[in-house]
């Protein structure tokens, strides 16, 4: 390929791809300075939508504006920008973990203004794969809706070690993008085609993980048809079933795309939508001939048909698809702003906004009484026991108990806030969290007396509207704040706290929907923003068998 030919190819490729906080822990290697500030435009009544661009791409500003305009200001938009390292594979330490940190920041900022912290993510191309690597089950609770535009779930014929993608990356280096090691997590190489759990090329690491339970994925794919016409009269049409870069089966390929080739039964739900368009062959032909690698006088349609049918990614096919990518309205490069695709995304976001506005699981808080033992004193079905051996010196009724003989035993360091007392009055099975079905076997040096539950128990754990899981405080020294509030529950590894004011009532149970005050704490008792009110989705208590 001569130099003259290279430029247009690379420009096309720019096409291949294209379409951005603090407080949270941000890995040192992440540069979030060019992404939209997580606090920008936050409003309790606006749903944050985070846009993630693709391989060799840049921030999806146009797409964000198009969706924001179409949704009448019901969303606030945030563009994640990893453009400097966007030639690297989605799982690169400067992409997926940084996206995770950014999503955490945007979620926290939304909670900071009184929102519930839940986000919608719109990702283009490889951005959708970066999200898959980024979403842990915990983070997924903050990202219930994901929309992908032309994400190559099963790769792209342009990808792979022998594909033309490396040239693009070399070209992009001239514009300041980092050039990946071809033997390592090279984005273009790792975008190779694969299916049903087949591994990625060497150096690319594991397949993108399945999305966690609770996520609803909508995959939007472009589907271009080339009409061959002469003077406006149609001769025939060639349905390409793709957007010029990502074949439709790949854009809709989530259910075949993860480890093992079959998604877990309790995993994310996925739906597919198609954005169709027709384009006249004349425009494809002209655009293709602008790609200087096209051989002289190539009658593209003439040569291409057979190669397309026989799955050969030949030069004529590349030229043909390149022409489509440049010229078609639903092509890979235009998918994030093209009217039909935007309409699809708007429809999905409207549904999501409605669903997110309704309290999850109904209005009322669900009360779950956790019973870890059966009547014989053995662990209940599904509960596992670990022999801890810790000796406990005194037990009192657990503050979270709604049944007899459930103790809170010293010392604080033992973490024995909820312990079921066995018949011998010395053996106890203590739970760390109400939601993980794990018990630790401990021993009391004294016979535990009969324990009656408190008149009003405090929930052992809380699951908040935002998805945060919060555990009742078990004494100890906690950070504080300048106002009257103190910590009552710690949530998600102390990233946020349920606070209690002078009334000493941590959970407002005056309505069917219980609420709590949520806010931060500081090791130096700083003045912090006032707490926000959040609905309790589920409250867990400890009950007797």
């Amino acid at each position: 390929m001569n130099r003259g030919a290279l430029l247009p190819v690379l420009c096309l490729v720019g096409a291949l791809c294209a379409a951005p906080a603090r407080a949270q822990d941000v890995p040192a290697q992440c540069d979030l300075t060019t992404s939209t500030k997580a606090e920008a435009g936050q409003d309790e009544d606006k749903r944050p939508v985070v846009f993630v661009h693709g391989w060799t791409g840049g921030p999806l500003i146009d797409s964000a504006n198009a969706l924001s305009d179409a949704l009448d200001g019901k969303i606030s938009t945030y563009a994640f920008d990893y453009s400097k390292v966007s030639s690297h594979w989605a799982s690169d330490s400067r992409i997926a973990p940084c996206l995770a940190a950014y999503l955490g920041q945007v979620s926290a900022a939304h909670r900071g203004v009184g929102g519930d912290g839940r986000l919608i993510v719109v990702a283009h191309s490889m951005g959708g794969l970066a999200l898959r690597y980024a979403l842990t089950p915990e983070l997924a609770e903050k990202v219930p809706y994901v929309i992908t535009f032309g994400t190559p779930m099963l790769g792209s014929p342009w990808g792979g070690a022998d594909g033309p993608s490396r040239l693009v990356e070399v070209f992009q280096q001239a514009f300041g993008k980092d050039l990946p090691d071809a033997a390592g997590r090279d984005g273009g190489k790792c975008l190779a085609e694969h299916t049903k759990g087949a591994p990625l090329p060497d150096g690319c690491g594991d397949l993108p993980p399945w999305l966690p339970e609770g996520v609803t994925l909508t995959q939007i794919g472009g589907d271009a048809t080339v009409d061959r016409t002469f003077f406006g009269f149609k001769a025939y049409s060639i349905p390409l079933a793709g957007d010029g870069v990502v074949p439709l089966p790949s854009a809709h390929g989530y259910p075949l795309s993860g480890p093992g080739g079959q998604p877990p039964l309790d995993g994310a739900k996925s739906y597919s939508r198609r954005s169709t368009c027709s384009i006249d062959f004349g425009l494809v032909n002209r655009a293709a001939h602008e790609l200087a690698f096209v051989p002289g006088a190539m009658a593209l349609d003439y040569l291409t048909l057979q190669d397309i049918q026989q799955d050969r990614f030949s030069l004529p096919v590349q030229a043909y698809l390149g022409g489509v990518t440049i010229a078609a309205s639903c092509s890979h490069t235009r998918l994030t702003t093209e009217r039909k695709s935007v309409d699809h995304a708007v429809a999905v976001i409207k549904e999501a906004l409605t669903a997110l506005a309704a309290p999850a699981g109904g209005t009322a808080t669900t009360v779950t009484n956790v019973v870890a033992l059966d009547k014989a004193g053995n662990p209940a079905a599904g509960w596992a026991v670990e022999n801890d051996g810790t000796e406990l010196d005194e037990c009192h009724p657990s503050p979270a108990a709604v049944g007899a003989d459930i103790g809170w035993c010293g010392s604080t360091a033992a973490g024995a806030l909820v312990c079921w007392v066995k018949a011998d009055r010395h053996s106890l099975l203590c739970g760390d969290f109400p939601w993980n079905k794990r018990l630790r076997a401990m021993v009391s040096t004294k016979a535990v007396p009969a324990l009656a539950p408190p008149q009003t128990a405090d929930p052992w754990g809380l699951e908040l509207e935002s998805g945060a899981k919060c555990l009742l405080r078990n004494g100890g020294s906690w950070p504080g704040r300048a106002d009257e509030y103190v910590g009552a529950y710690s949530c998600d590894d102390e990233s946020v706290f349920v606070l209690v004011g002078n009334d000493r009532v941590p959970v407002d149970r005056s309505g069917a929907a219980w609420t709590v005050k949520v806010g931060g704490l500081s090791a130096t008792n700083e003045a912090l923003p006032p707490p926000t009110t959040e609905r309790v989705r589920t409250a867990y208590f400890a009950a007797a068998p």
Binding site: G282, P295, D311
Partner: protein, 120 residues
């Protein structure tokens, strides 16, 4: 997994049998050849239409194509013939009084119509 495939009707001819030559040696389009192209296009006969366009012989055409072209008045102006650096050529045409640009490719020494675009 390429694009389309099963949805593509017809079969392209083998490149060896009918590929455009791309030859720089293809002679400029003469007035006579231009007239012949126009005549074939408006013949109403699909076989003759195929003589003027670069389409695989096995590619089915819309039944309405030949009759539609037959109803048009087509003039190809050989004097506007311009070879292109990539080996193709362009020539101007008028169809029912409207101006079009035709892109030609040389197939076995003959200029055939690859694509047409309405002139801006």
């Amino acid at each position: 997994m390429l694009f389309g495939g099963s949805g593509v009707e017809g079969v392209a001819t083998t490149p060896a049998a009918s590929a455009p030559s791309g030859s720089a040696a293809a002679a400029p389009l003469t007035g006579e050849q231009a007239d012949e192209l126009a005549t074939d296009l408006i013949s109403g006969d699909e076989a003759r239409v195929r003589e003027a366009v670069a389409v695989s012989p096995e590619q089915p055409l819309e039944p309405g194509l030949a009759p539609s072209l037959a109803s048009a008045v087509i003039e190809v102006d050989a004097s506007t013939f311009q070879p292109q650096p990539d080996g193709s050529a362009v020539v101007a045409a008028r169809v029912d009084g409207k101006r079009w640009t035709i892109r030609l490719v040389a197939v076995e020494g003959r200029w055939l119509i690859s694509s047409t675009e309405a002139a801006q």
